[in-house]
């Protein structure tokens, strides 16, 4: 699957702006971004519900940019599933094969196979409104995979499920993708979902892809403030480089970092809260005062104020040592490699 220079405009608004993207076969790919970032439009461009104003959409070696949805080797699992309410589960799943004019006996066999793959054997004669939300989603998946598409598109696949079911479905989706070896492209606004499911993620902002990478790459080495903020919690500190490897914060504190930013430039330092160590351990140590504690069971989020006025969020794993409360003073160390230098 490849997108090259794909642009889609609605009137004056450019929903998708010159997007280039390659997704190899068998990947579980996530399009991640806030609402209005163009991720859904991108998915609809892949499905064929929207046609791009510019660019190529190549699926399985064929440019399908102007091909209608019913001629694309692509199937979609809709956000609210869009099951046909008047058809039974089996007829819903068979619909796509009937449109291909597949023989009756083959339809039966493939419908049974698809339903078995989503563990819904025995539900053939139910109507969609006799199913739970999770079961409906599995019918929607069966209805799509029974067509053996080159690309399976999932629009916010977990959004309509309640939280408990979401975690279970996450594991099931991942297992299903690996078992089928199909290319999955998922749209989500939920960073946890993207991190947990995807082999690679594209982060979108205002119609453009701002970074593509594995979940770990994006989390550990965000390329911009936007990515750092959007994926997980992050301390973002304005700073100026005063000499190679040393940045000064507005309050006066100096931080050493590994990297080569030019002295004199203004930058943003991104520091993940869980990478800040408690205790003195090398350079970049300071004593801070705890201003607030958010206790979450396994971990606590601490709001810490450094002597120069800098506010930091620090994640602490609970269990080691006595509980911390607001007002406590704390020795912190920011390891050099925990600091990512981003453009201001």
């Amino acid at each position: 699957m490849e997108l090259a220079g794909v642009t889609k405009r609605y009137g004056r608004v450019t929903a998708v702006d010159r997007v280039d993207l390659q997704i190899p076969k068998g990947e579980f790919f996530a399009l991640l971004g806030p609402s209005g970032s163009g991720k859904t439009t991108l998915l609809r461009l892949l499905a064929g519900f929207e046609l791009p104003d510019e660019g190529r959409v190549v699926i399985a070696g064929r440019d399908v940019a102007q091909v209608p949805p019913y001629h694309r080797p692509v199937n979609m699992v809709f956000q609210a599933y869009a099951l046909f309410p008047h058809l039974s589960v089996a007829r819903n799943v068979a619909f796509g094969l009937e449109m291909e004019r597949v023989g009756k006996s083959e339809i039966q066999a493939r419908v049974a196979e698809a339903l078995a793959q989503v563990e819904l054997s025995g539900f053939e004669d139910r109507k969609p409104d006799q199913l739970s939300g999770g079961q409906r989603q599995r019918v929607a998946i069966a209805r799509a995979i029974v067509k053996r598409p080159e690309l399976l598109l999932l629009d916010e696949p977990l959004a309509a499920l309640d939280r408990r079911l979401r975690e279970k479905t996450r594991a099931e989706l991942r297992a299903l993708q690996q078992r089928l070896g199909l290319t999955f492209v998922m749209v989500t606004h939920d960073q946890d979902e993207a991190l947990a499911l995807a082999t690679r993620i594209a982060v979108l902002d205002r119609g453009r892809i701002v970074q593509v990478g594995t979940p770990a790459e994006l989390y550990e080495r965000p390329a911009s403030r936007f990515v750092a903020e959007f994926l997980g919690d992050c301390n973002l500190l304005e700073a100026a480089i005063v000499e190679p490897g040393v940045a000064a914060l507005p309050g006066g504190a100096r931080l050493h970092f590994a990297g080569d930013a030019a002295p004199g430039s203004r930058v943003t330092l991104a520091i993940r809260p869980e990478k800040i160590a408690i205790g003195a351990d090398g350079r970049n140590t300071a004593v801070g005062t705890i201003e607030a504690v958010e206790y979450l069971g396994d971990i606590s989020h601490l709001q810490v104020r450094l002597p120069d006025g800098t506010a930091l969020e620090v994640t602490r794993v609970n269990g080691a040592g006595p509980p911390l409360v607001a007002g406590d003073r704390l020795m912190l160390t920011i390891p050099l490699e925990a600091i990512t230098v981003l453009p201001a």
Partner: protein, 295 residues
Amino acid sequence: MSANWGLRLAVLLPALWLVLFVAWPLLIVAEISFSEVVSAIPPYLPVFGWSESGPSVSGNVENYRLLASDALYTASLLTSLRIAAVATALTLLIGLPIAHGIARAEPRFRGALLLLVILPFWTSFLIRVYAWIGILKNEGLLNELLLALGLIDQPLTILTTEWAIHLGIVYAYLPFMVLPLYVAIERIDPALREAAADLGARGTATFFRITLPLARPGIAAGCLLVFIPAMGEFVIPDLLGGPNTLMIGKTLWVEFFANRDWPVAAALAVVLLVLVLVGIAALDRAQRRAGEGLA
């Protein structure tokens, strides 16, 4: 306390209305249907009356026996059924694309399009049916146009045929078909059409496999709204159908006003009412059974 009273009043008023203006007149019609015709005003002998010996009951089922024995009534009933059925089917065939088109139009145009559908209601029904005479008669607009275009050599007889009645019914009742169809089609989740397209269905397949089955409640409502009044229609067959058309509504009118045989006319009305009610009940049951498991 006052809220309770308000609620009671709100229920009572329509109930009172129904009793006074629906149930009571129907009962009177039913009474007349069992009475004998006399030369008096009103021209029937009341079933429940007073004689010297107190209250008297004098009804019989002669009128119904006459309806069953005289082929005229059966024939006009069957003709009405046929014409109403054909006209309803035609209205559905014409109304479906219109409703579908409006439901699929851009939302900002839908209001205006619906307004166009009901625009004829601003003119009296009677006048609009009269206007068709001017169009359909032998020296009417339609024939003159066809003659002028050289498509025909002599005028076609359209007025006074059953086709003129069909045309009149389709024209007069089209809005009653289009509105429920529009509502039903407009309600269908657009994602279902996208899902169908995604699964390989072109527009026509989507229409017949998804849109049409899901619009069934609207189709049933529209057909009822056209079929029932068409069944008892009097003005259209009288004006457009010519003197030989036997429709139940017209027969009823003749019995009532020309023959002044109120009892037979009332019996005919009761039969018509019962038939229509039985039809609606049957359709409703079929709908309910088909709709089982449907949201």
